[in-house]
């Protein structure tokens, strides 16, 4: 597929602050790519560099295989054919809805466009507001007008800067659905900036995860969620639980249970075996809280402690600290402590979502089991993340 947007080794810095550091990625035509990351990681700056509102210190930018920035090339913003939806929508307060949408449409080439004003208004479901002034519109309506305005000149690419951030939850969900539909229907090549992983997973064909001005990982939403390459990536998408473990003979021994090396993929098992050979057998286990499967064994007697149950599996004490109603699921806060620890300090608190139906049967078992398939990673040492593929 032809490339809609290409960034090659883009760097941007000033006053010794590195804002963007050697960023490269591409977006296929008609795809939606989400730039995801914490505040200040350089997501919005990428959009500004792409649109020409700021100039990179080095690198190349190509839009539909046309170089717009590079060695001796710097096409001004107004000639890049980019649609930009700003976080605050930036509607012109002195113009009504019609004039705002038509602002970027050249009257001489209007007839060449595949749509007219009415089509745009219909697309964003704002036909009745054609003469309204921006200040009379709600946040959601302003967002839709800003989207229509950005799409009206039929841009080659669309850049969305946190387009749903100022809206309440229900409206945000509704608008991201309708925006996704519009973008896909019109096959608009889009880069959207967001710091909300759920939003990114919903909207994106591909997610580019950023940290400190660099790309940490990119791939499909499923890849980033289930196969994170770094702890940062794993943590960014959802809670993770971490436990110390060690390799003993043919097993990984941990406080939450033991895992047979033969259950792991060959390459990882080999690496762990090598590790065992070095005498340093310490490692860490990571998994998502929802992977924690809690079962009851008949011989175990739940120990009532402060009205909440706790139990030990021979190695550790599991204690239900609190249960929160969060709608479809319940969040159970489980504190994990060493059995023999005198101060009984928590080594980990798990926030595990549990189905409402299972509330009544929920109790701590003497044997807690983590499904090996859902164990997301093992860190043999800091920065060394090994992906465990589900068996």
């Amino acid at each position: 597929m032809a490339s809609g947007i290409t960034l090659e080794n883009i760097s941007f810095h000033f006053d010794q602050h590195i804002i963007i550091d050697e960023v490269s990625f591409s977006v296929d035509q008609g795809d939606i790519v989400c730039l995801l990351g914490p505040s200040g990681c350089g997501k919005t700056t990428i959009l500004r560099l792409l649109s020409g509102l700021e100039n990179p210190n080095k690198g190349r930018v190509l839009l539909n295989d046309r170089e717009v920035f590079g060695q001796g090339v710097n096409i001004p913003t107004e000639k890049r054919r980019i649609g930009f939806l700003f976080q605050d929508y930036a509607l012109f307060p002195h113009l009504d809805v019609r004039q705002n949408i038509e602002f970027g449409v050249n009257p001489r080439t209007r007839q060449d466009l595949p749509h007219d004003l009415d089509d745009m208004l219909k697309m964003v479901d704002m036909v009745d507001y054609v003469n309204a002034m921006p200040h009379t519109l709600s946040g959601g309506q302003q967002q839709r007008i800003a989207l229509a305005r950005a799409l009206a000149p039929n841009p080659e690419v669309l850049l969305l800067d946190e387009p749903f951030s100022g809206l309440d939850t229900a409206l945000r969900v509704h608008l991201r659905q309708s925006t996704h539909k519009i973008l896909k229907k019109n096959q608009v090549t889009t880069i959207m900036v967001t710091h909300d992983p759920e939003e990114a997973m919903f909207m994106a064909d591909k997610i580019v995860l950023m940290q400190h001005g660099r790309v940490v990982q990119m791939g499909s939403p499923r890849e980033l969620y289930l196969q994170p390459k770094t702890l940062f990536c794993a943590d960014f998408f959802a809670d993770t639980c971490a436990f110390r473990a060690k390799v003993v003979e043919d097993k990984i021994v941990s406080i939450i249970g033991d895992f047979l090396l033969e259950d792991l993929t060959t390459s990882i098992a080999n690496r762990l075996n090598k590790k065992k050979g070095t005498g340093d057998s310490a490692l860490q286990l990571f998994f998502r809280p929802e992977s924690l499967m809690i079962t009851i064994e008949s011989e175990s007697q739940a120990k009532i402690d402060s009205g909440l149950q706790s139990v030990n599996n021979g190695k550790a004490i599991f204690k239900i600290n609190d249960v929160h109603f969060i709608g479809e699921k319940q969040q159970v806060d489980i504190m994990l402590m060493h059995r023999d620890s005198a101060d009984a300090s928590a080594i980990e608190t798990l926030h595990s979502p549990v189905d409402q139906d299972s509330l009544l049967t929920l109790a701590i078992s003497a044997k807690t089991k983590v499904d090996i398939g859902s164990l997301i990673s093992i860190s043999a040492s800091a920065g060394d993340i090994l992906w465990l593929e589900a068996l």
Partner: protein
């Protein structure tokens, strides 16, 4: 100065982005150059401290200086107290209460700002002096002769304080009104639920919350009091401004006048410091961005009557009475406005005011835009320097400009003589150019603050949106900036125009020979005790000032934070 009030009400929201700041460029250099030109008077005065004058300084210190300081302090104390009571009281009434004529008073209470204090002084003097109609009427009614009854002397410290209070209380009123509007609902309702009465509420919540705004209002009024020349000169009260003028005009000692100015500068810097401190504090007083419609106290019977009287007195004293008096004086023995001399004076006034307004607005747009696009702290500092003159009296600005201008003239003459063998004479001293420069120094802040606040309405994203929608920089300025800012530019121009029309001391000292304006004509006639005739130019000045002020006051009243 209305602009300072507008500045306080509409704080520019400009903030630097996290993108590269350009510290040096030709645009920044140019804006710094303009800032330095506008800072010339202050630099001139400071420079004078190191100069040897004609030896008048020790004499001044021994004789008149203590009187200047004492009189200035008494004036400040009296005016400060008066404007605080009237300004805060009327603001509280129109914001928090419903009473007869509230909607009228809400905007009309600003009107005294249109009338220069010296014009009010001329009107009151003419009507209240012993030969005036009021005392004549008393004598006719009682049969008493001159000197056989007590009547307050308007030409006194008390008279001057009364006049300043009557024309300057709107500064406190305007700022306090906005402060009450902004704080009201969130804090006041909590206070009511905690058992405070309306009056207790005012004392323990509203007043402390509005204190920074009140202080800024009082400081602005005090700055105007210190800057006044016409009123104190007419009433024979010796203050810094009259002293500076006398030292310069009578003793011809430019250095001593500048040294006297530098002492006044200390007073002013102290006020500026307090004002800045209060304003900074005021920013943190806002705890919410949510506002609801105010629930006002309904005043009935005697409370209603008292509220109407409380608001009517300052409006009458500061605006209605002087206007009626001036009109009466003009009708009884005023000059004919169609007289060619008047036509010339009106033309001169309008030419000066229009030129200053246009230059001020164009320069403000340049300075504000450069500071914004360059994202440079240097340009920001430059703009602060350019706006410094709003605190400095016209007399001082004139003295401060004359010194460097005379130096430049001298330099040009020396160089011309050396290279071309002739002296061109005084090119800048006593020229329109120097006078316009003085106006710019004095009123640049008015224009710059208004332009900055209207530029602040255009977010950076709006500019960027226009660019991404295919409009180049110039077209963005034409299609986005110009229509959004047009109202602000007009307002800035109008305020400078009116301020220049009213300006007296700088014009008096710096005008070209035989070049008279309406303000100068009013001053000259009043100086010669031809007060009735002084009504004619005064009335024209007021008429020119009042129309834009009504327009502005209506506009200000329509604005309500959070709605």
């Amino acid at each position: 100065m209305v602009g300072s009030v507008v500045k306080a009400m509409v704080q520019s929201r400009f903030s630097f982005s996290r993108y590269p700041k350009k510290t040096f460029s030709w645009l920044t250099t140019l804006s710094i150059f303009f800032a330095i030109i506008l800072a010339t008077p202050i630099l001139g005065i400071v420079f004078s401290l190191f100069q040897e004058g004609q030896g008048n300084w020790p004499h001044l210190v021994d004789t008149v200086l203590p009187r200047y300081i004492g009189n200035s302090l008494i004036l400040m104390l009296g005016v400060g107290t008066g404007v605080a009571v009237i300004g805060v009281g009327s603001a509280w009434l129109v914001v928090m209460c419903n009473f007869t004529g509230k909607r009228f008073f809400e905007w009309a209470l600003i009107l005294p700002l249109a009338v220069p204090a010296y014009v009010v002084a001329y009107a009151y003097t003419d009507v209240l002096q012993s030969s005036g109609p009021v005392q004549q009427m008393i004598r006719n009614l009682t049969g008493l002769g001159f000197g056989e009854y007590w009547f307050p002397n308007i030409r006194s410290m008390g008279g001057a304080i009364t006049i300043f209070i009557a024309v300057l209380y709107p500064y406190v009123y305007l700022l306090t009104r906005v402060a009450f509007l902004e704080q009201s609902v969130c804090a006041l309702e909590v206070s009511r639920t905690l058992g405070r009465s309306p009056l207790g509420n005012f004392r323990s919540v509203a007043l402390p919350l509005a204190r920074p705004a009140i202080v800024v209002g009082i400081i602005l009024a005090l700055m105007e009091t210190l800057a006044d020349f016409g009123t104190v000169f007419h009433f024979g009260i010796q203050t810094f401004t009259t002293g500076i003028y006398r030292t310069w005009a009578s003793m011809g000692d430019r250095i001593a006048a500048a040294q006297l100015s530098s002492l006044l500068l200390t007073f002013i810097f102290l006020l500026v410091f307090i004002e800045r401190y209060s304003r900074k504090k005021a920013r943190y007083f806002q705890t919410t961005t949510r506002y609801t419609i105010l629930k006002r106290y309904q005043l009935t019977k005697w409370k209603n009557f008292c509220a109407v009287i409380f608001c009517s007195i300052p409006l009458t004293l500061g605006f209605l009475a002087p206007i009626i008096m001036l009109f009466y004086m003009h009708m009884s023995a005023g000059h004919d406005l169609s007289n060619p001399r008047y036509i010339v004076m009106i033309k001169n006034s309008i030419t000066l005011a229009t030129t200053a307004a246009l230059v001020a607005v164009v320069l403000s747009v340049f300075l504000a835009y450069v500071a914004r696009v360059q994202r440079s702290w240097l340009a920001q500092v430059g703009n602060k320097i350019a706006a410094m003159g709003y605190a400095i009296p016209g007399t001082m600005i004139a003295v401060g400009i004359l010194y460097p201008v005379a130096y430049i003239d001298q330099l040009i003459n020396q160089l011309a003589k050396q290279f071309f063998g002739f002296s061109p004479g005084q090119l800048f001293t006593g020229s329109i150019t120097a006078l316009i420069l003085a106006y710019l120094v004095r009123f640049m802040a008015v224009s710059l603050n208004t332009v900055e606040s209207s530029l602040g309405k255009i977010t950076r994203n709006m500019e960027d949106a226009s660019r991404t929608l295919g409009q180049a920089k110039l077209r963005t300025v034409l299609k986005v900036h110009t229509p959004i800012m047009s109202g602000g530019l007009l307002t800035a121009g109008l305020i400078v125009f009116v301020d220049v029309m009213k300006e007296l001391p700088a014009t008096l000292i710096m005008r070209p020979f035989n070049f008279d304006t309406l303000a100068i004509q009013a001053y000259n006639l009043a100086k010669d005790e031809r007060l009735t005739q002084a009504a004619t130019p005064s009335l024209v000045i007021v008429a020119v000032g009042v129309l834009p002020l009504i327009f502005l006051s209506r506009k200000i009243m329509q604005s309500r934070t959070g709605t």
